[in-house]
Symmetry: C2
Subunit: 243 residues, 2 copies
């Protein structure tokens, strides 16, 4: 869109490059998938070994969980992104309709938005009129500033589904790896715990780094979640077996 | 905040009550928890029964998965909400600092934001000056209109964690219920499938209703995800057993 800003302003804007952090949606999807993938199958396997299951049944349960979790989270992510985008276009049609049928009311809404920031009617009046003269820009303005909705990326839903699913599978295979080679569950679980805690620390560090949070703190938090989840799964499994 | 809007505008705003749908965050958390809770333990149990596991080991695995999943998703939700709020306050401090140290640049950014909607310098000038006279409102304006960030609710993180975890447990117990009473896994799985598909249909319908999507379509989609996930888990379990 053509942006008309005064020369001095252009100069200031170019000189001042802002670096506000915003986590990319793909990074967010990878984080969602990997953190759950590393944690849940890990905890499930630990829990089952606590219930004296064989490595083979633990591996079976683990792989089944990874398949189910990847599909459930992937398709869940797909539908979430899809309904978000449906929501956007429903609201877009509604705003368009309101601009066409009750423009005075919509103009009053623009006024109300700016008034909330202490801007006086004689100050925002020209802006309201400028938008009324440009219905397309007015619609964009209402979508963003009244409803806070951004235009969704059409490829987002599918991309999100695949990213989450693949990330979940990759994360989920880490804790199951030892069970593939160590037939005695009691021994395999030790290797699985060490391997997964290590993976959780590395992943947590990377997560903190990419999301602008303290990497070390994030690494410890992430590993702690895995430990708590598997301890709970272990306890529940033992309890159920005790019945 | 004191809102100063012209009388005629006030009248229009009151007369026109908008009903833009926005899914409440709690509803969203319940949906996340229940849909995964209904799907994954269901698929895991179906998968294990496909691998000729006993009802007792299936129940053990299922309960362990529910415990692990609830904690992983709950704590995951907690940390996500937490880091979102941390992100907000980091950006808030940054904007405050910029308004204090490089006000002309920040003013130019306000101009740029409005210029994107085809508003001319002589039209947005008064608004920019009004904001400069009111730094508090100016900061709010930048947070919302430059960065699109809303002030996070401090209780959100904990509330989100508990909502997701409880929803996951409630959803996860449904498919496991039959295994508690039917010792023969081959019989229990049939009851579990019927019970869970029914629950997925009802949940999907409610989900569609609350998120403003077609309820029947949502019910079918939700049940389909559960079916696909459990079919995949069943197949993977059979494959692993076949090794």
């Amino acid at each position: 869109m053509a942006v008309s800003v005064g020369e001095s302003e252009k100069y200031l804007l170019n000189r001042h490059k802002e670096h506000h952090f915003t986590a990319g949606e793909i990074v967010r999807d990878i984080i969602i998938g990997v953190s759950d993938g590393l944690t849940v199958p890990f905890a499930l396997a630990a829990g089952l070994s606590g219930a004296n299951a064989s490595s083979s049944i633990i591996l079976t349960a683990g792989i089944a969980e990874v398949a189910a979790g990847a599909i459930s989270m992937g398709l869940g992510g797909y539908l979430a992104a899809k309904s978000e985008s449906d929501h956007y276009y429903r609201e877009l049609r509604r705003e368009q309709e309101e601009i066409d049928t009750i423009p005075d009311t919509e103009a009053a809404e623009v006024a109300e938005i700016l008034a909330e920031y202490g801007v006086e009617p004689h100050e925002y009046g020209p802006v309201v009129n400028a938008l009324r003269k440009n219905p397309k820009a007015w619609l964009d303005f209402m979508m963003k500033f009244e409803l806070g909705l951004d235009k969704p990326d059409p490829r987002r839903a599918l991309q999100s589904a695949l990213t989450i699913a693949i990330a979940y599978v990759l994360g989920g295979l880490v804790p199951l790896f030892p069970y593939m080679f160590i037939p005695v569950a009691g021994k395999a679980v030790v290797a699985s715990v060490i391997l997964t805690i290590l993976a959780l620390l590395i992943f947590g560090f990377a997560k903190g780094y990419f999301t602008g949070n303290k990497p070390v703190w994030s690494a410890l938090q992430t590993a702690l979640i895995g430990a708590i989840a598997s301890a709970a799964a272990y306890g529940m499994a033992k309890a159920v077996q005790g019945l």
